[in-house]
Structure formats: structure tokens, C-alpha cells
């Protein structure tokens, strides 16, 4: 198992995810987080994405994208777990949102629900 060496994350922990596209990740009319920000990339090749990546800090969330980010999203672990999903630490600087079903319908459903719980960092 990948995650055995890390303890469970606290319900109260806030985790962060970078916005990596200038448009489409925030609803242009409400300015709220759009489902795209939490949608599994099931069309990715050669294999679909299985978890949503997050980080412990806004800076870490942006590091992987060489500064080409357009904001940071914050979401609490307890809100993720309330949906029946989980957030687990997989490395020293990485968190994976797990248990999202790997099909378009459910992945979209959960992406919408996660986006509703998330907020754009000021």
C-alpha cells in the first residue's frame, strides 16, 4: 500500500489545489469554483487519472506547474469525507483525493459536489 507510512489527515485540515487554466476552472458568472477543477482526467492517455492531487500549502500546490497557475483552491478534508471520498497523504508534499469512481457520470457528479465545497483563495 502506498499510503501506510503517513498518518490519516485531520478532518480540520485545509488542502490546496492549483488552478492551471485561465478560464473554465472558475464559473465566469458566479466566480465560484467550477467542477472542472475537481474532474478526474479520464480522457488522459495512456491511462486515466485515478485521484485528484492536492497539497498542504498554496505554494506547494503551484510548484508542479512552474508558476503557470491562475489561483489556488482551498477545501477542507472533512467536506471531502462527507461526500464518501477520502483525502490521504501519498508523499511528503502530496495529497490524493480518492474513491472517486472512474466513470464520466460519477466523476462529474463528484466534481460538482467537491466544487460546491471549495473556495477560491483570496
Amino acid at each position: 500500500m502506498v499510503n501506510q507510512k503517513f498518518p490519516p489527515l485531520s478532518d480540520e485540515l485545509t488542502i490546496y489545489r492549483a488552478i492551471v487554466r485561465e478560464t473554465g476552472w472558475v464559473d465566469p458568472y458566479t466566480k465560484k469554483i467550477e467542477a472542472k477543477a475537481f474532474k478526474l482526467r479520464l480522457k488522459r492517455e495512456p491511462k486515466p487519472e485515478e485521484t485528484i492531487s492536492a497539497a498542504f500549502s498554496p505554494v506547494e500546490a503551484c510548484n508542479a506547474y512552474k508558476g503557470k497557475t491562475f489561483g489556488v483552491i482551498a477545501i477542507q478534508v472533512k467536506d471531502i469525507r462527507a461526500l464518501g471520498l477520502d483525502a490521504v497523504q501519498t508523499s511528503i508534499n502530496h495529497i490524493a483525493i480518492e474513491k472517486i469512481p472512474l466513470n464520466e457520470k460519477d466523476a462529474t457528479n463528484f466534481a460538482i459536489l467537491l466544487a460546491e465545497k471549495a473556495r477560491l483563495l483570496d
Binding site: 492551471v20 478560464t23 476552472w25 488522459r44
Partner: protein, 176 residues
């Protein structure tokens, strides 16, 4: 457990999957639109634009194109950085067809780039929280898909191969 891709760990082993895709390289949607003579949008910021849902939705579609940059790059760690020619042309055609069909009730929408160079067209009813999402494929070998969320009956539906007719029906339902 399968391997989890971790961007922070610079795992690029499964990237570079869209090399054969016909990206809209070095020519923006706006330029192509003007060249086609069909969509004159050079002065989008001017007051000449009709303040209609159709025009606003179309404007948001144009905004997802990043080809005004000088970069030769077509992908980054997340995926495609611009839509394929096929995807944006089909998106424009679809919006126009929808407008032709339901012009007076054209719902306000926006667009989002997909990781494979496709485009997602999104419409929401902010009162009911119902949603319609149309995934425009990056090439002709992939079908257009349709996602419909209906909070009223607590269900969502996903159509792996959708028709224009289904999209129009879904949009008509959105604001009922």
C-alpha cells in the same frame, strides 16, 4: 493499487499522449474565425456586440484559446493548453445550431478546455442547480457526449454518444 500520478514528484512517464492531435497550433481561434469570414469578433470588447446569451456564451468559448502566446508548446503537466481545430469548429457549429433552434431561449453558458484538446460546453440553471455539459471531442474518431444533472429527481444522466437533438432537448429542459 495502480500508480498514482503525482505532479509534485515530476512523474511525466505517462504524459505526451496527444502528439498526433491536430492542435490549433500557432493560430488562434479568433484569427481562424476572422479568416473564415463567418465570425467577426475582432472587436469583442466594443459595444457593438449584442448583449445576448448567445454572444456571451460564444465569447467565453473564444476565451479558452491560448494561442496568442508565442509558445510552441501544446501540452503541459495538466494536458492540452489549447483546443484542437476540430473541437473549436464543432463547438462553434453546435452553438450556432442551438441558437438557430432556440434563439429566444438560448441559455447563458461558458466553455472549458479538456485535457485531450476537446472542449466542454457548460450550461447551468443557478436556481435549480441543474446542469447540462456537452463534451466536444478533439477529433472525429471520438463521440460527442452529454451530461445532464437534474436535482429535482436526484439523478444525473450521461450519454456516451450524443446527438444535436439530445443537446437541444436537454437545454430546453434546463430552464423549465
Amino acid at each position: 493499487m495502480d500508480t498514482i500520478l503525482v505532479p509534485m514528484e515530476r512523474d511525466y512517464s505517462s504524459r505526451k499522449s496527444y502528439k498526433n492531435t491536430d492542435y490549433n497550433r500557432n493560430q488562434s481561434i479568433i484569427n481562424l474565425s476572422v479568416a473564415s469570414g463567418e465570425y467577426m469578433i475582432k472587436n469583442l470588447s466594443n459595444a457593438t456586440i449584442q448583449n445576448s446569451n448567445f454572444e456571451i456564451t460564444k465569447q467565453h468559448l473564444f476565451e479558452i484559446d491560448n494561442t496568442d502566446t508565442d509558445s510552441e508548446e501544446v501540452e503541459d503537466e495538466w494536458g492540452a493548453i489549447r483546443p484542437t481545430k476540430y473541437a473549436w469548429k464543432l463547438s462553434l457549429e453546435l452553438l450556432q445550431q442551438i441558437f438557430n433552434q432556440i434563439s429566444t431561449n438560448f441559455p447563458l453558458g461558458f466553455a472549458s478546455l479538456e485535457e485531450n484538446g476537446g472542449i466542454e460546453l457548460i450550461w447551468k440553471n443557478y436556481l435549480t442547480k441543474n446542469e447540462v455539459r456537452v463534451s466536444i471531442p478533439p477529433n472525429q474518431n471520438i463521440d460527442m457526449t452529454l451530461y445532464v444533472r437534474d436535482i429535482g429527481n436526484g439523478k444525473s444522466e450521461f450519454y456516451a454518444s450524443s446527438s444535436f437533438y439530445q443537446v437541444v432537448k436537454a437545454l430546453q429542459f434546463l430552464h423549465q
